[in-house]
Amino acid sequence: VRGADLDGKSLVERARQGDTDAYADLVREHQKVALRVAYLVTGDSSEAEDVIQEAFVKAYQTLSRFRPGNDFRPWLIRIVTNEAKSRQLSTRRRGLREATWGRRSLTGGAILTPENLVLASERHRYLLAALRQLPSEDQTIIAYRYLLELDEAEVAEVLGRPRGTVKSRLSRALRRLRDSLTDQQIEVLGIGALE
C-alpha cells in the first residue's frame, strides 16, 4: 500500500501541474473507496455517485491547497465526506419542509446511515444494530477505521486530529460497542468471552 502511496504522490504532483491524465489515474485509483464513503453517508447509490463526481471535481479545483508529502487518500475522503454530508443536510432540509418541521442537529451527525445498508450475510446483523446504538461520533470513527479499513494515521488525517486522540476515541467507541452486545450476540460473532 505504501508503494502505491509513493506513486500516488507523484500523480498528485503531476495533477497539480495541470496533468489531467495523472488526475484521471488518481480518480480511477480512489473512486472505489470514495464511493464507499459516499454510500455510507448517503445510503443511496445514485446520490453516492453524484457525490463522488462532485468531490473529485472539487478536489481537483483545490489541489493547490493539498500539502505535498501527505497522503492523497485521507484528504480525498475528507472532501467526499463533507460533500456527502452537505448533500444529506440539504436533502434533509428539503424533506423536512415538505413533512413536519423537525429538529436538525447543527453538530453534523454521523457519517454512517446504517439503516440503509444491505448485508450479504445475516451474521453481522446484531453488530450493525449495536453500531447504530452508539453515539454518531463513535459510529463515524468505527466506520472509518474498520468498515473502510483506514489505518489510524489515515483516520487521524481525515478527522484532522492527533493520532493519540483517534486511538483513545477508537478504544472508547469499541468499549461502548462491546458493552452494548449481549453475551449471546458475542457468541454468535465468535468473540471470546471476557474473563
Binding site: Q61, G102, E149, R163
Partner: protein, 581 residues
Amino acid sequence: MSTDDTSWQEMERSLMELGRDIVYPIAPDVTSRVRARIVATRPTMTPRVSVGRVGIYGTVAAVIVLASVLAISPSARATLMPWWSAGSMCPGQIAGQPLKLTEVTSSEFCDSGIVLTRPIQQANVSKADAVETVKRAERYLQHFVVYEVALAVVHKQTSTPARSWFAWVVVTALNPVSRHPLYPEADIFLVNAKSGRLINPEPRRLAQLNGTTRKRRRGVVFPLFVAAPPSHYEYSGIQFPTQRDGFVLGTRTTSVLFVTEDAGRSWSKRSIPNGQSDWFQFVNGSVGWLESGPPCRCNHPPTYLYRTTDGGVSWRRIFSIGKQGAYQTEFVSTAQGWLQYSGNYAPTLETADGGHIWHRVHWPFSSYHQWHFTNARLGWASVSGHMFTTADGGRIWVPRAGLSGVYNLPSFANAVDGWTVSVGLGVPGGCEPDSSCPSALLRTRDGGRTWSVEHSAAEDSSAGYPPHGRYWPGGWSYYLDQPQFVDARHGWMIFGGWNSRASPPGGANWYLNGGVTTTSDGGKTWHMHRLNLPASAEASLATVSGKQAWLAVENLGRAEKSFILHTVDEGRHWEPIIVAQ
C-alpha cells in the same frame, strides 16, 4: 487476561468482516465524466463564494429575513427565502407567506413547537452584514446542542453602527424526545455577537422559562446556557494542580500550552516542542510532562516525552516513546509515574526518576482498560466491569470484591474517602435497567476496602444526576464521568447521554443536554447544572475547590466548538473564559 486481549482483536476482526459484508453499489467508472468536467476548469487558489454558499446557512439565514425582510435588497431576498414559507407552520401564518414575528408571542407554541419571543425590532442590515452574521451565528451556535435555530438581527443605531448590536435568538423545537424529564422544555437565548454573552431583552419572561437569572451589565446571563466566543484552538485538557496555577492544552495545527499563575485572571501562551501533543500533566505549578510528536500525521511519526521544571517555559526531551505512542501516562509525584503503550499485549513502563529511566512492569491488563493511581502505592484499574486494585504501586493487582459491574474508576478526596458510580451493581457487564437495576453512587470511608451505596438513581427519579448506564427505556443511554471530590463533602461529576432510537434523519442521535452535577454533602444530594454539552464532546474537568471548577470542552475535529468554562459558585453559573486572543 489474555482472553480479554483476544476478544478485543476478535471484536476488531468482526467489525472488518462487517465492513466487507456491506453490499456496496456498483457504480460505473466516473473517471471520464470527472475528466470532462475538469478539463474546462483549472485549479483555483480560493473557493468561489457564491449564492449557493449562502444556501448552506439557509436555515439560519431564513430567520434573518423574518426580522429584516424589508431591509434586505430584493435580489437578496430571493436567495434568502424563509424555509417555512412552503407550508403553514404556525398559528396565524398564511401558507406560502413568511411568518411575521409579531404574530407569535412567547406564550404560544407553533405546531412544530417553535417558541418565539416578543416582536423583534425591525432591523436595518445589508445583505453582506446578514451573511456575515449568519456565519458568525453558526460558529457560535456550534457550541450547543441546538436542534433548530431561529435568528433575529437586533439592530440599534448607535455611534458605532451595525454589527456590535447583532444578537440572535436560539430556540429548540419541542418534540416528544425533548419532553424527556431530563431535558429542558425550551431553550431560548440571545447571544451578543461580540462578547458571546447571553442577553435577554425580556428578562422576566425568559426567567420564568429558564429559572433564575443574574443581572450583568445591560443584559442578563442565564445560568443554564453558556455561550463562548468561537475558539481557534481545540482545548483537549485543563489542569489546576494548585489553586493559582492552571494549564490548558490547545491545538490548532500545532499545540500550545496556555498557562495562568493567578488563578485564571490572565493567561499566557507557551509553545511546546515538536509540534503536536495530546497529553500533558503537571503535578504542581512548575513540574510537568508532555508527550509530543511532529504535526505531520503522515505515517506514524515518533513521539517523545518532555519534562519541564519551570511551568512550561522550557522543555527537555527525556524519553523516546517511539512510533507506537503511549496510550495512558500518569505521574503521581515529581518522580513516580507509569506509561502504557497502546495495543494488545503492549508493554507498561514505570519510572521513579521523573521519566528519564523506565523499566518494564507486568500488569494483567492491556491498554484498552483504564487505570489510575491515587498515590505512589494505591492504584485502580477497571477491567470489563471488574475493579482491580494495587497497594504496592502496581506490583500485585487483585480484584476488588463488591465492585463487580463498576466501570468508572473511583475518585479519592483523601486517603480514605472515595466515590465511584456503577450500574447494575454486582452484575458483571451491567444489567438491563429496570427498577431493580438502578445506577448507584458508591462510597468508601476506609480507602477502598469496603463500599456502600450512597445514592442511587432510576430513570425518572430526580436524583440530581441521570442514571448511569445503557439501554434505558426509550433508547436513552446516560453516562456519568470523572467524579472528582475535592474534600469529603464537595464533589463534581460530568453527565451526558444520547438517544439512539429516536434519531433525526441521517442517523445521528439525540443528545441529552449534558453538563455538570455537584454535591456538597458527600454525595447524598446532587444538583444538576446543564451546560448543553454534546455527547460527542470530550469534557475535561479541573476542580479547584468545592465552589470553583474549570471545564475544557473539545469536540472531535471541530475547533470552533471548543471552549473553556469557569464557575465560582458550585456550578450554578459558568462563564466562558478566553485564554487565546
